[in-house]
């Protein structure tokens, strides 16, 4: 619909500030990190990797990076295992109580993160599980699992349950069905879900903040703590790292979306992960 009447020009004109508003903050992050200055400024005064070197020489920041990657690994592994098995188990089945099961699986997405953070904080203290990255990883797994469930379910939508039944009637055992019928079909959904789980965990701040301890301080928590005092180049480097990860995640996601249109529906999902 290409027309050049005044209303469309008005829309185009209005949309420029809207798109700039959306893009500029993300776009400045990497240049700010590579700024050749002791202060945080934009536009940068020159290109330098001094801040990046400073970041990787600082134990506090590198251990935060390690903690983030550890919690993300826990969240991805648990999320993929639980989300995928749940999606397969529920595929093509109707039983009394099924809506309640689906509701329970999705519920972690709608509970505000701060509420979950408080609940986990209390819970892990009460069972004496504090001071490591494990409870943070487990908490991330709780909110990451529904995403994997949804992306896997989306990729299963095209699978006719009759296919499973015919494989079984031809003598395929449960593992063989899983391997040869389900796995090829859910693989894109699984990868997409794993990316979601990784991104949910790597960006999650509130739960990690409540459960932080020396040695279990994630990158966003370190950023959150430092940002309240000063905008430092190391925060900028950390932001640039996370933006790069997000860009790679988005590119991979787009690749899979282009391959399988079904996962487009999943994109505007991260309700609980964002605040």
């Amino acid at each position: 619909m290409k027309t050049t009447n005044p209303q469309h020009r008005l829309l185009a004109l209005l949309s420029i500030p809207a798109f700039l508003f959306l893009v500029i903050p993300t776009a400045i992050v990497v240049p700010v990190a590579l700024n050749d200055s002791r202060y945080i400024t934009f536009p940068p005064e020159g290109i330098s990797f001094a801040a990046v070197a400073g970041f990787f020489a600082d134990r506090a920041w590198t251990s935060a990076l390690t903690a983030s990657l550890q919690s993300a690994a826990i969240a991805v592994v648990i999320g993929v295992l639980l989300g995928a098995t749940a999606a397969i188990g529920l595929h093509g089945r109707k039983f009394p109580g099924q809506p309640a099961v689906v509701g329970l699986i999705l519920a972690p997405m709608i509970v505000p993160t701060v509420v979950l953070a408080l609940a986990f904080y209390q819970f892990f203290i009460s069972i004496g599980m504090v001071g490591s990255i494990v409870p943070i990883g487990l908490a991330h797994a709780v909110i990451a699992t529904p995403y994997v469930y949804l992306t896997t379910r989306a990729s299963l939508a095209g699978l006719n349950p009759a296919l499973v039944r015919s494989a079984q009637s031809l003598g395929a055992g449960p593992l063989s069905v899983l391997r040869h019928v389900y796995l090829p079909i859910i693989l894109p959904g699984l990868i997409s879900g794993a990316l979601f789980a990784f991104s949910v965990s790597i960006d999650e701040t509130v739960m990690s903040l409540f459960m932080q301890s020396p040695g279990a301080t994630t990158l966003p928590v370190k950023m959150f703590t430092d940002i309240q005092f000063n905008l430092t180049p190391k925060i900028a480097v950390s932001s640039a790292l996370l933006v790069s990860v997000a860009t790679i995640g988005l590119l991979l996601q787009v690749l899979f979306v282009l391959k399988r249109r079904s996962s487009t529906r999943m994109l505007p999902l991260a309700v609980s992960a964002q605040t």
């Binding site: 700010v32 109707k94 509970v111 505000p112 701060v114 209390q122 701040t205 950023m223 933006v243």
Partner: protein, 294 residues
């Protein structure tokens, strides 16, 4: 988000067939696949939440927190900041969704990526970027001084304006998608028919596009408002002491006052508020016949 709407998007399977040739293991084993997630959610989701609800009934906590003027202030802040952010987000989201709707295929893919990149970026990164832009010697102040709007830097950071800017930036994608999908479901021929009958573009928008995209607008508004009410990071990073929201108050009770029952009571209040809104949201989705944003 909504079970009901999610359910409608998937084909109705017939369930495990109770046919005569079905071997026993085919029917009995599948629930084993659900056992891990159910066990996990019961232990690590329902139990902590249950304990939280339990803790909230101790020490007269509800009465205590609701009599705290700081809490009342935080509740009022939450409502006003969320409402303001929602209005701005829906207006900007509508403009962006209109552009996406009008764009050709290639432009649309590029613009979708533009909308999605901030969506995939963590909230702290976005708020940090805004802090850099809005600080006294930041780009926005430089621009305002450059065009002569102001002589000296004006304080743009650590106030309510900054909180709303930061929140809107995080919330925009959530508004764009529902609005875009309701725009995309409008029959193009309606506009063509109206134009062929002499309607101007303004009239087409007012009398066709806008009313038919109303379900998308209300879904977007509700979703954005729901997410807004839980914001925690942005008020701390971008706001001043007077801009704290309910989530910050929960944190304050839990980690500063170490008053668990008070924090738990606040958390329950927030969850109940959000749950009611989610229920309304599902109604709206159902009424609008939308499946897209789950």
């Amino acid at each position: 988000m909504s079970n009901a709407t999610l359910e409608r998007t998937r084909p109705r399977g017939r369930g495990a067939p109770p046919s005569a040739d079905a071997p026993r293991r085919r029917r009995s084993g599948w629930w084993l696949l659900l056992a891990p997630i159910l066990a996990f959610d019961v232990v690590l989701f329902l139990t902590p939440l249950g304990k939280l609800v339990g803790a909230s009934f101790a020490d007269n906590a509800y009465q205590r927190v609701l009599e705290d003027p700081l809490v009342v202030r935080a509740l009022v802040n939450t409502l006003t900041i969320s409402l303001a952010s929602t209005v701005v987000t829906v207006v900007l989201g509508y403009i962006i969704a209109m552009v996406l709707w009008r764009a050709g295929t290639v432009t649309r893919v590029i613009l979708f990526a533009v909308v999605l990149l901030p969506f995939w970026t963590g909230i702290l990164v976005k708020n940090f970027a805004w802090a850099v832009l809005l600080q006294d010697n930041g780009m926005v102040n430089a621009f305002l001084q450059g065009i002569g709007l102001t002589g000296a830097p004006i304080p743009l950071l650590h106030n309510r304006f900054a909180v709303i800017v930061g929140m809107v930036h995080c919330l925009l994608p959530y508004a764009v998608f529902p609005i875009f999908s309701s725009l995309a479901s409008i029959d193009d021929r309606l506009g063509l028919a109206a134009r062929s009958l002499g309607a101007r573009e303004g009239a087409v928008f007012r009398r066709i596009t806008l009313p038919l995209s109303m379900p998308g607008i209300s879904a977007a508004g509700l979703l954005v408002f729901i997410i807004s009410t839980g914001f925690f990071i942005t008020p701390v990073v971008m706001g001043g002491p007077g801009d704290m929201m309910i989530a910050n108050q929960i944190d304050y009770y839990a980690r500063q006052l170490t008053d668990f029952s008070g924090a738990a009571a606040l958390a329950v209040i927030l969850t109940v508020m959000v749950s009611i809104l989610v229920a309304v949201y599902q109604r709206v989705l159902k009424a609008g016949g939308q499946h897209e944003d789950n």
